[in-house]
């Protein structure tokens, strides 16, 4: 082993035991000096790389699965989806037909039914993952919360006096990107969906498969859904959550 090989081996794996390297370091002052230098670097390197971890990461609650359990086998690559896409004219025709049907049916739309459909979609969205909600004392970072609120359709503001938000993520409800939050209430955590574009005429109860909650109208054309493990957890946070949310569309 010569100096060049010594250097290559030392700089690649300084902590590994290598007899040839050891022998050369014993013989050569130049190699010993390099070894000292590299060991000094290693010591500092470990400290420099161990950056502080934000509490929001350390104490992050379990993730809330936004689209249900998806095994990797079920994931279709974008390329594959592109390949399987129907011709554009067919999609355009289907859209036109759908719009026509919706326009023709408009006067018959029952708002109660719409609320029930929205509730069903919400249950489908969060129901299976509701058991994963955990109590937490650390809020999600303000920048993360701002980002999620800003990502949604229209404008959504959350008052600073809002209950503690421990989790924030964008999710899709009825084709719209909406903030999906976990708020910590007096009687446990609840999931709160802020939906500035989903109008309901009055409170719509959600009670299905162990899920309890309510969709409440907020502002002129929006609503929020509050879902918890039981009625008490929802009730204890309902008023504060309603007062904290403001939609600007």
């Amino acid at each position: 082993m010569n100096y060049e090989e010594f250097e290559k081996s030392l700089l690649a794996e300084p902590m590994s035991e290598c007899e040839k390297r050891r022998a050369l370091a014993d013989e050569s002052p130049e190699c010993r000096a390099l070894e000292r230098k590299v060991m000094q670097l290693e010591k500092r390197l470990s400290a420099a790389l161990a950056i502080p971890v934000p509490e929001s990461v350390e104490n992050a609650p379990l993730p809330s699965d936004d689209v249900g359990n998806t095994s990797s086998e079920n994931v279709v690559s974008l390329d594959a989806r592109r390949r399987s896409r129907a011709p554009i004219w067919l999609a355009a025709a289907a859209c036109l037909a759908l719009v026509s049907v919706l326009v023709l049916r408009q006067p018959q739309v029952d708002t109660v039914d719409y609320g029930a459909q929205l509730a069903a979609e919400i249950v489908e969205h969060i129901g299976p993952e509701l058991g994963m909600m955990v109590s937490a004392t650390e809020p999600v970072s303000q920048s993360k919360l701002d980002k999620v609120l800003a990502a949604g359709v229209g404008g959504t503001q959350l008052d600073r006096d809002a209950p503690l938000v421990s989790y924030a993520k964008s999710c899709v409800i009825n084709g719209q990107l909406v903030p999906h939050l976990v708020m910590q209430g007096e009687d446990g955590p609840v999931t709160v969906l802020l939906m500035p574009g989903e109008r309901v005429d009055g409170p719509v109860s959600i009670m299905q498969d162990g899920v309890e909650g309510v969709i409440l109208p907020v502002g002129d054309g929006g609503s929020i859904a509050i879902i918890g493990r039981d009625a008490a957890s929802v009730e204890s946070i309902k008023k504060a959550a309603m007062e904290a949310v403001e939609f600007s569309i």
Partner: protein, 170 residues
């Protein structure tokens, strides 16, 4: 086993595996993308993905490289999106220093800047080796490289650091 009991078991397994490596995942993501907020997002998405595909992890001993690979892929996805938004990723350099060293620890700050300045091809194996304690073989598997390529990158990474960072006289 009832469904609820199975769900609970799955949840406990997830908490045990992911909880153990949470800090490592964040630090790895951070040194990959050099942005604390982005690192947080990457880890959050990686944890969600890990939860969804937990059943595909057969052996708990393989959890760490499995999770690191997920973080690596999530990070690549974020950067792909950033590239599409035509954001110059080099603009990210410098901003995170606020979170790193204290004012009286300028040596450490300088070293962190020197690490930041390394190309990610050199920075990543260094983080995997020094911070996360992986062997050359494990790094090669995570990064999809040969052992020789990993050794070369590690050698070059340290050489650049020694050149660019004054270790001072002993």
């Amino acid at each position: 086993m009832t469904e609820t009991s199975a769900d609970r078991q799955r949840q406990l397994r997830y908490e045990r595996l992911v909880g153990t490596y949470r800090k490592d995942l964040y630090r790895y993501a951070y040194w990959l993308n050099r942005d604390p907020q982005l690192a947080e997002d990457v880890v959050q998405d990686a944890m969600l993905r890990a939860w969804r595909s937990l059943d595909s992890l057969r052996e708990d001993q393989a959890a760490k490289p499995w999770l690191l690979t997920i973080v690596r892929r999530e990070n690549a996805r974020f950067f792909e999106r950033k590239r599409l938004e035509t954001v110059d990723i080099d603009e990210l350099v410098g901003a995170p220093t606020l979170q790193l060293a204290t004012e009286d620890d300028t040596d450490q700050d300088d070293l962190q800047q020197a690490i930041f300045a390394l190309d990610v091809d050199y920075r990543e194996p260094l983080v995997l080796q020094v911070l996360l304690g992986h062997s050359t073989k494990e790094i090669a598997e995570i990064m999809g490289l040969s052992n020789g390529a990993v050794l070369t990158r590690l050698h070059r990474a340290r050489k650049k650091l020694i050149e660019n960072f004054d270790l001072g006289e002993e």
